[in-house]
């Protein structure tokens, strides 16, 4: 059965240059760009208000930013924590705590001196819903290591906490964000770790430039499975680069996006026994090409499961967002992005300053939006999708029907 998505909001010229990173949390859609800014776009917008009027902006680093993740959690005592982590092209990791009422960014200095010297690439938060296990911060570095920290929101010495009367001020005072370094999952050889994800089952998946994916135990930091890329190889035998890895919400499946020559393929693995389930493919027929199995006619830069794990959204260099029924491994929707569909005409970038066409802009990131996050008509009953494109835009969509 096919699905239909309709555009609810979009914003052209969201950043000065290419947008490389996207993630969605309850209050904000976060984007980072080569212009060095992180922007938090407010999700709940009143009818008729423009995204650009409700955005928090922070300049982070002049070399530009490429990966972003946010962490939003309501902790004990109603303490709201919103963290944003981003990585610059110079390899530094930046952590911010954002106050959603004032919109203030507070830079957190949580890494040790030696940890700051590393050159990082990809960052992910893992939010634990279980009180007994702590939240995690997982970061890959350019030498292929995956570093894991415990993210603690409160001070660790519990005795003090119990003895005192839980006054509001006292609870707030106990907030003490800190990281506890757990260890590093090293790569067997130095190779670029491009992507990482953490599952609720306590496993970490790291994708590499050479096309392999390593799944490791979070508890022991030991590798369990090693997947090699399945796509067709380019003539240089080097074009299998993993662009994104994503666990399904229950951790049963792992989706891997990797290059397949100039195409992009997405492969699903089940995580219990490390078996390959299959590829997501669009039917092709051509007199010149051998029939290729690919997911997008261009590299796949982003993957996102919806909250139930039934659907997977993929996006690629071909300027398309595709939504797949995971069980049937069938395409249920394709969104063709065009530079011209930006609402504000003056914000349309259909050609960049150097004469290159952006009419069908490559899509650099995609994410499902849970029900109730975006607000507006149908926002509470339907899921949505957001994506960032090389025409410097952010687009939000909502599933049609049921309103």
């Amino acid at each position: 059965m096919s699905k239909l998505y309709i555009s609810t909001a979009n914003c052209g010229k969201a950043h000065e240059t290419d947008i490389f990173g996207l993630c969605v949390s309850n209050p904000y859609t976060a984007t980072v760009s080569g212009d060095g800014y992180i922007k938090l776009w407010q999700n709940k917008l009143l009818e008729g208000s423009m995204p650009k009027e409700h955005v928090l902006t922070k300049f982070v680093h002049k070399t530009g930013l490429h990966h972003v993740d946010t962490f939003h959690s309501l902790e004990q005592g109603g303490l709201e924590v919103f963290l944003a982590a981003c990585v610059s092209f110079s390899g530094q990791l930046f952590l911010y705590s954002v106050d959603s009422t004032t919109g203030q960014f507070e830079e957190l200095d949580l890494l040790s001196k030696s940890e700051k010297l590393k050159s990082y690439w990809c960052v992910k938060f893992f939010k634990s819903d279980d009180r007994t296990t702590s939240h995690k911060l997982v970061v890959t570095d350019v030498k292929g290591g995956t570093l894991v920290w415990d993210l603690n929101v409160f001070r660790q010495n519990g005795q003090n906490q119990d003895g005192e009367v839980p006054q509001d001020a006292a609870v707030a005072g106990e907030k003490d964000l800190h990281l506890v370094f757990l260890g590093e999952i090293p790569a067997t050889e130095p190779k670029f770790a491009t992507s990482v994800d953490v599952s609720v089952k306590g496993t970490v998946a790291t994708g590499f430039q050479d096309g392999s994916v390593v799944v490791s135990q979070l508890q022991t930091l030991r590798p369990i499975y090693n997947f090699e890329g399945f796509g067709i190889k380019g003539t240089e035998a080097s074009s299998g680069t993993v662009r994104d890895v994503r666990f399904s919400p229950l951790g049963g499946l792992l989706a891997v996006a990797n290059d397949s020559g100039s195409y992009g393929s997405v492969t699903l693995y089940e995580t219990q026994y490390g078996e390959r389930v299959g590829n997501l493919t669009v039917p092709t027929h051509s007199s010149q090409n051998s029939i290729a199995s690919f997911t997008h006619d261009g590299w796949v830069f982003g993957l996102s499961f919806n909250s139930t794990g039934e659907y997977l959204a993929t996006c690629g260099y071909d300027g398309k967002v595709r939504v797949w029924d995971v069980k049937q491994r069938e395409r249920v929707s394709t969104l063709n992005i065009s530079a011209e569909d930006i609402e504000q005409e003056e914000d349309i970038v259909s050609q960049d300053e150097y004469g290159d066409s952006l009419k069908t802009p490559p899509v650099m990131g995609v994410s499902f939006i849970d029900k109730g996050v975006r607000g507006g008509i149908g926002g509470d009953t339907n899921e949505g999708i957001t994506c960032v494109c090389l025409d410097r835009s952010v687009r939000w969509f909502r599933e049609a029907g049921g309103v």
């Binding site: 490389f20 092209f89 100039s262 290159d356």
Partner: protein, 383 residues
Amino acid sequence: MKGQTSSKRSLIDYMKCSPTRKDFEEALEPEVRIIKLTKLQKSHTVESEIDMLLSLAKNGIEQHAEHIVITLEGSNGQVKNPLNYPFYGFERLQGPPAAKSAVLMSLMSRISAIAKQKESCTIRDVFYMNVELYQNQQIVSDSLREIADAFQVTDLNELGIYAAQKGLCFTPVDLHFDIGKIIIHNQKSLVPLMSPSVHFSGDWLRVKRIIVVEKDAIFSKLVENASVCKDCILITGKGFPDWLTRHFLHKLMVCCPPRVEFEIYTDSDPYGIDIALKYTFNCVKTEYQCPRLTYRGVMIQDLLHDRNAARNGLQLLNLSARDFRYASNLLARLENTALKNSKKRVLTRELQRQMFYQKKAEMNTVHGANFAQYLLAKSHILK
């Protein structure tokens, strides 16, 4: 104590009149002659200055049995480690080795000889005059630079020594420069040696673009393509450009009318971006940069959009760890340069994309390995 009487005294005499070790060492210290290389006086030429210094040194050693100590002033006015020759002292060898003094002396006499013959020669020529002494060309060019700094002359050219020409150029019209010199049209020629106040004149109406390419091979291909080279001046620095090629480009920029476009094409890798930056901007001297130059490719997306690539396999290579580090450092360096923002942005963007995609590509592979086609297609888009 010292001087003529010293030869008649034996070691025991010295020991008798020097109660301490320090005194003893001082007593044995030979007479020295300090030769300073400092800023060239207005009335002196390099040749006369050097001849004087050399004859001083010669007299000192031959006739007075003195040791010579050469001191050089660096470009920042600080005096470098003095060079002793012949070497003397009690402690273990300190300071530069004696061979360095020999190199310096030999280079100075070479410079003087060149000036006498009213010629000029390349660093490479100088190096081959005495390979055994100089050992490698780097030593020659470093030492020459030291001499130039000490005399406070702006350029090695003023010493009559040039870097070997590396760059190539091709022009559709004759370019006249200096007195009676000419770059002949429609043939490949080395980037010429020029006087500092050079002015190029030619039929500028027939020149539309000045195209700089990174690679020699691409340059040769373009020269053979009539539709490209009929109205373009082509330049290549063969990889990282030497100063002469950069200077040549700068002079062309000054001499040609403003409607002529300056473009540069390099490999789509961090080194290519660095090369483009080197032509456009440097921290040393404005005479070596060409701010009008626009970076036009090869962009990594040109290769990605290339539909033929799907059939032939994608011609992209993985970015290695070294490339990545280089790119990262270059990006930081680029942000700190005083380059115009619009120029900076395109370079930054390309670097970021290369890093994000983790790919690089060679310019040869674009447009089915036909760079001339690519160039023509690209200029078509702009119009």
